[in-house]
């Protein structure tokens, strides 16, 4: 990725600027709906970025990443219900659980590949969904309400929407940077090599399994962070967030935005959620456009938005 001012880089800068200025716009107009919308966009963008780490760079198509969203959220919700409201305890524990879950799921799933991998990650996510549905004490199907957001002391009051938004945005940008450094490191090259030609990687001497597993764990934890943020944002967590169609949404965001870069999924999330928001004002049947659109993207528009922008820059 060059640092020249290509159309693509200009678009990225523009996007950062818009994201950074949303609260300012809201303060000026007094309309706080965009803030709520963009908080959600930023959080789901984080989830999509985490998914793309394993999917775009690692070639592991996980159809169960929504489970991490739910798991992160539920740890926060359950701890809050049991009287532990401190974010300093909730958040690390949430990440820990997601890491453990990813380690377990990864250890079993990574023995398979291709569509089998897709299926088994899907199955594990459904398992998480059913477990959450069965937790009567924590709301079961109806879900769990968070009466207080994670507490971080007086300095960081998460119920301040603007503050919360900037926290989410900072975490998103930090994650994008982290993913970028990761994929170009020795570790990242192993992951990309395994995606490109796993047989060659093994022949050359890499025990690819352990690297893919670590990648899966990091991805799961990052997605869990998004889940923590989401639970705080909506003050609510339910099994519905873990349904496999939610995992599908994340995949769509990553593909639409472009799987080849760390920033791609962010573009995809913004595009998809704004499109949904816009279309839903025109007609309540907006998914009818989204469906074929997705098919068209898959057929003709590989590389997503990011890829298209990059092509523009080349002439």
């Amino acid at each position: 990725m060059t640092h020249a001012l290509t159309p693509r880089n200009a678009a990225v800068l523009g996007l950062f600027a818009i994201l950074g200025l949303v609260p300012v716009y809201c303060a000026l107009t007094g309309n706080y709906f965009p803030l709520t919308l963009f908080t959600r966009i930023v959080i789901l963008a984080l989830a999509a970025v985490s998914l793309n780490l394993v999917m775009g760079f690692g070639g592991m198509v996980s159809f169960g990443h929504a489970a991490f969203l739910g798991l992160g959220g539920y740890v926060v919700g359950i701890l809050a219900k049991e009287g532990i409201g401190s974010g300093f305890i909730q958040w690390p524990l949430a990440l820990l659980f997601c890491g453990l879950f990813a380690a377990g799921v990864g250890a079993l799933s990574l023995r398979t590949r291709g569509v089998y991998f897709i299926m088994i990650t899907l199955a594990f996510a459904q398992m998480a969904y059913y477990i959450a549905s069965g937790l009567e004490r924590y709301g079961g199907d109806d879900g769990l309400t968070l009466y207080h957001r994670s507490a971080f002391g007086a300095a960081l009051d998460l119920s301040n929407k603007t503050l919360f938004y900037y926290l989410c945005l900072t975490l998103l940008l930090g994650s994008v940077y982290l993913v970028r450094r990761l994929v170009n490191s020795r570790f990242g090259l192993v992951i990309q090599g395994a995606r490109s030609n796993e047989r060659r990687m093994r022949t050359v001497g890499f025990a690819t399994f352990r690297y893919k597993l670590v990648c899966f764990i990091v991805s799961g934890m990052l997605c869990g962070l998004a889940g923590v943020l989401l639970a705080n944002h909506t003050d609510f967590i339910s099994p519905a967030i873990m349904h496999w169609t939610r995992s599908g949404d994340l995949i769509v965001m990553a593909v639409l935005g472009g799987m080849g870069s760390a920033m791609g999924p962010v573009m995809g999330a913004v595009a998809l959620l704004l499109l949904e928001e816009g279309l839903s004002r025109i007609t309540e049947y907006w998914p009818i456009v989204l469906g074929p659109l997705l098919l068209l993207v898959v057929l003709f528009w590989r590389g997503g938005i990011d890829g298209m922008l990059a092509r523009l820059g080349r002439g």
């Binding site: 450094r181 990761l182 170009n184 490191s185 020795r186 570790f187 990242g188 090259l189 192993v190 990309q192 090599g193 490109s196 030609n197 047989r199 060659r200 990687m201 093994r202 022949t203 050359v204 001497g205 890499f206 025990a207 690819t208 690297y211 670590v214």
Partner: protein
């Protein structure tokens, strides 16, 4: 032979009804260039597959530097010093030539759980990679995407990747497949330069190259070793002539 580097005993492998490897036994010294020849379907690639660890033999043992590696996984064999090039080019198509070789270097440069530093700017990886590329004659093409290289350059790159792992034994599966005379001559010169520095197991159809390079030759027909020994002996062997060297092209290659 005193202390062969590679010792294969009674290697057997079936695929359904086909006996691809029939109790193959052979030994290769640490600085020997050993060629395996035989008609198509003789089981040469199956043999390499078992030596490399991708195919599990039904019976038999493989010993490398004194260790039994019959059950060792592919990556572990590489760590011990076994390198392999593929008959059908198997590279990282969406990377540059230099990236390809650098990955091979990286596999033997300690663990890769390093998450921060840009690996493409690490001289410990890039310098040996450039050297390997230069050794096979691809120095000028280092920054080209693999998809942009010619078939001949792919074969050269295959060799560079295998060499970059610092092997003790090089398993070469038809390195000259699909190459023209000029390119083939270049590969032969390269292999001649490597002779004596490491052990090489060479599978080839190009008889000229085989007889010019090999210290010893093993002939494989229908999965069975029908002859093994010095090139002159193989040339004269009646069984071999009947089974394999009977074709006019081969005969011509031998008699020059």
């Amino acid at each position: 032979m005193a202390d062969p580097l590679l010792q294969v005993e009674g290697l057997t492998r079936r695929f359904g009804g086909v006996l691809a490897s029939d109790a193959i036994t052979l030994a290769i010294g640490a600085d020997e260039l050993h060629a395996i020849i035989g008609p198509n379907g003789a089981g040469k690639t199956t043999l390499i597959g078992q030596l490399a660890g991708e195919i599990a033999p039904d019976a038999g043992r493989i010993r490398f530097a004194g260790r039994d590696i019959t059950a060792a996984p592919v990556h572990a064999r590489s760590a011990l010093g076994l390198a392999r090039s593929f008959q059908v080019t198997s590279l990282f198509a969406d990377f540059t030539a230099l990236d390809n070789v650098a990955l091979a270097v990286q596999a033997h440069a300690g663990h890769s759980f390093r998450f921060w530093r840009d690996a493409r700017r690490d001289p410990a990886l890039r310098d040996p990679a450039r050297a390997a590329l230069a050794a096979v004659g691809l120095a000028g093409r280092a920054d080209q995407m693999v998809s942009r290289l010619s078939h001949g350059e792919h074969r050269q790159l295959e060799l560079a990747v295998a060499l970059a792992t610092g092997p003790r034994l090089l398993l070469l599966d038809e390195p000259m497949a699909g190459l023209g005379p000029e390119e083939s001559a270049r590969v032969v010169a390269l292999l001649r330069g490597l002779k004596g520095k490491l052990a090489i197991l060479l599978i080839e159809h190009d008889m000229e190259a085989v007889f010019a390079l090999a210290d010893r030759i093993t002939v494989l027909v229908y999965g069975r070793v029908i002859a093994s020994g010095a090139p002159a002996a193989i040339r004269a062997d009646t069984e071999v002539r009947k089974a394999y060297l009977g074709s006019p092209a081969a005969a011509e290659a031998i008699h020059g």
